[in-house]
Subunit: 235 residues, 2 copies
C-alpha cells in the first residue's frame, strides 16, 4: 500500500502540484487525503527521500528536492580538487561557447528517446577552476521541452544549470547514469582546455533523467585530471 501512496505522491510531483523547493502537505494531511495511517505515508516519504526526490526537515516539513539548494548543489558533479575541498574552491567560472538549435543525429536521438532529426538544443561550454579551464562540456537537450533556451540565459543564470532548468522549464533532473573512459582529445578539444594534444582526459558521458525515467539531457564532457579527480563512493 505504501508503494501505491508513493506512486500517488510521485504523480503529484510530476504534475507540478508541488514545485521544487516548496513544502508538501504534512504527513497527517496526506494520510487523511489518501485514507491511510500516518505510518504508511511516512514509509512512502522515507523512500522518496532516500531517492533524493524529497527532503525532510524536522520541525519544518517535507520539501520537494531542488538543485538550487546550497547543500546539494552540483550533486551530479563528481570532480573534486586533489587538495582542499569543493566548497572552498567555490563554483566554476563558465564560458558558453555555443548554444544553438539543431537536429538530433542518430546517436543523440536514441539516447534521448527522440527520432533522428527531431529538434534539439546543443550547447558547448567550458568550466574553469581558479582560471584554469578544466571541463569541456557538450550538452544536448530535447528541443520541445527547452524551447527558447539561449546562450545568454545559460551565461546569466547564477548557480547550477540544473536549477535553471527547474526554474525556467519545469524540468527536474532526478538521477543520471555516467559512462567514463580515458581518451586523447582531438586538436580542437585540446586547444580549448589548454593542454597538449596527447594529454589523457576523462571522458564522462552523462544521461540525466527526470521523473519516470524519461531521459532529458545528454552531456558529453572532458575532464582534465591533473589537479582534480573524479570521486566515487562505493558501498
Amino acid at each position: 500500500m505504501y508503494q501505491q501512496i508513493k506512486g500517488l505522491i510521485l504523480h503529484s510531483l510530476q504534475h507540478g502540484e508541488w514545485k521544487p523547493g516548496e513544502v508538501i502537505p504534512s504527513e497527517m494531511d496526506l494520510a487523511a487525503r489518501f485514507r491511510v495511517s500516518q505510518g504508511t505515508v511516512r514509509k512512502a516519504i522515507d523512500e522518496l527521500a532516500a531517492d533524493n526526490l524529497l527532503m525532510r526537515r524536522q520541525g519544518k516539513g517535507t520539501f520537494v528536492a531542488t538543485h538550487a539548494e546550497r547543500q546539494v548543489q552540483y550533486r551530479f558533479l563528481k570532480l573534486m580538487p586533489d587538495v582542499g575541498d569543493a566548497r572552498e574552491e567555490g563554483p566554476a567560472q563558465r564560458t558558453i561557447l555555443e548554444c544553438k538549435r539543431s537536429r538530433a543525429p542518430v546517436e543523440i536521438a536514441r539516447a534521448l528517446q527522440l527520432r533522428t532529426g527531431d529538434p534539439v538544443i546543443q550547447a558547448r561550454r567550458i568550466l574553469s577552476f581558479a582560471g584554469v579551464p578544466t571541463i569541456l562540456e557538450d550538452i544536448w537537450l530535447p528541443g520541445q521541452a527547452f524551447k527558447g533556451l539561449t546562450a545568454e540565459q545559460m551565461a546569466e543564470y547564477q548557480g547550477p544549470t540544473y536549477a535553471m532548468f527547474e526554474l525556467d522549464y519545469g524540468v527536474r533532473m532526478v538521477r543520471a547514469e555516467e559512462k567514463i573512459r580515458a581518451i586523447a582529445p582531438d586538436e580542437e578539444q585540446a586547444n580549448l582546455l589548454l593542454v597538449p594534444v596527447g594529454t589523457p582526459l576523462l571522458s564522462v558521458e552523462r544521461l540525466a533523467y527526470t521523473y519516470n525515467d524519461v531521459p532529458m539531457e545528454l552531456r558529453r564532457a572532458l575532464y582534465r585530471t591533473d589537479t582534480h579527480h573524479y570521486h566515487n563512493s562505493l558501498s
Copy 2:
C-alpha cells in the same frame, strides 16, 4: 534508541559473533535481547541493510552480507563491457604477477593508517576479459591482518578476492572510495596491458574499508577503456 541498537549489532558483526553469510537472530529475538520492541530492531536493521552490511530475505531471516554471493559479486567493480552485460561476460581471468611481503612507503602507509616501513603485502595482477588483458592492479594490504597471503592463494581461489579475504582472514570490506583519473601508462604498464605507450588509461585508486572506517586495502588499477567503460549511477 535504534541508533544504539544499530551500534550493538554493528559491534557483534565486527567481533565475528555472526560471520559473513550466516543468519543473525530474528527480529523478535534481538528485540528480547536488547529489551526493545520489534519495530526498533527493525529500524536498526533497515539502516544496516541499506548500508549493505546485512541482507534481508523474507521468510528466511536476516543475513550478514558477503562478497561471495552471486547477486552482489564484484560489487565494487564498476567496469562494464560496452556491449552486453557483465553477467554474460562472466568473471575475469586472473594472472597473478607478483605477491610479496614488503615495507610500506610513506604514501601507502598514510593511506592504510600504518607507519612508514610497517610490513605490507603487495600484489600485482592482471584481469582479462575474453583473453584481452584489461585491468592491471597493484594491491597493498596491511601485513599484520593478511599474514601469510601468497600468490598461489590468490590464484587458486575461485570467485571474488574480497570473498577470499572474508573466508581466510576474517576481513570484510564494507565500503570503498575511488579516485579516478586519466593517465598515460609507462612502458611496463603498457606492455602488460598490450597497448601502445601513448594510450590513455583510466587510473582508479581505491581505498577499501572494513567496519568502523578502518582502511584495509589500497588498490591502484589501470583500466583499458577501449571495449569497457566505468559505469556510475548518480542520484
